[in-house]
Amino acid sequence: MITTRLSIPEDAAFLHACYQEPGVLRGFPMSTEAEVEDSIRFWMYHAQNGAGLSALVDGKVAGMIVLNIQSFGKFSPTCLFSLIVDKAFRKQGVGTLLVEKAEILAKEQFHIEILHLEVYEGNTPAIRLYERLGYSYYGTQKKFIKDDGAYLDKVLMEKKL
C-alpha cells in the first residue's frame, strides 16, 4: 500500500540515493556532485516549508514531489513542481498518487491556481503520465539542455487546478 506524508529532512537521503542511480540525471539539469547538492538543498528548502510530499511503500520512501512556491506575490497563482520516483517503484502508481496529492496541497494550502511542470524531450513515460493526469502542453524551450554535446528541448506543461 502506498501512503504519503509531508517530507521530512531525513528524506534528503532518498534524493541522494536516487540521483546516484545510473541514468537518472538524464532527466534533471544537474551533472556534478556540487550541482546535485545544490538541487537537494533547494528541494529540501521548499519541503521544509510544507511544500514537499513523500510517498512510502512498506514504510520506505519510494518517491518525492515538491512545489517550488514562488516568493513574489504577483507570481502566486502558479508554481512549478518536481517529481522523482525510485526506479524500483515505478509503474506502481507512486508518481500518480504524489501528483494528485500535490495538487490538493497546492490548491488548499498555497492557493495555487495553475501548476506548471518541465520535462525534457524524449522522457515519454513522464509526458504520458502528466497527460493522463490532465496536464497540457503549452510550449517548448528549444536547446535548453546540453548534455555530452547533444541538445535537448524542454517541454512545458500546465494544469488548471
Binding site: 507570481f75 502566486s76 502558479t78 506548471h116 528549444k142
Partner: protein, 47 residues
Amino acid sequence: MLFVDVFAENPLIALLEKQGFQIYAEEKGAVKDGEKRISKILLECTL
C-alpha cells in the same frame, strides 16, 4: 539561446520581437495584479 519572460501587454514585447526574439509560450493567468490575472509571455532568441 537567450530566454526572457515579460508580462503581457508590456510594450517591451514588440521591441524584443523587432530585435529578433520570438514568442514560444504564454503562461496564461500566471501573474496576479490585484484581482486581475495577466499572462506571462516567454520569448527566445537564437544568438
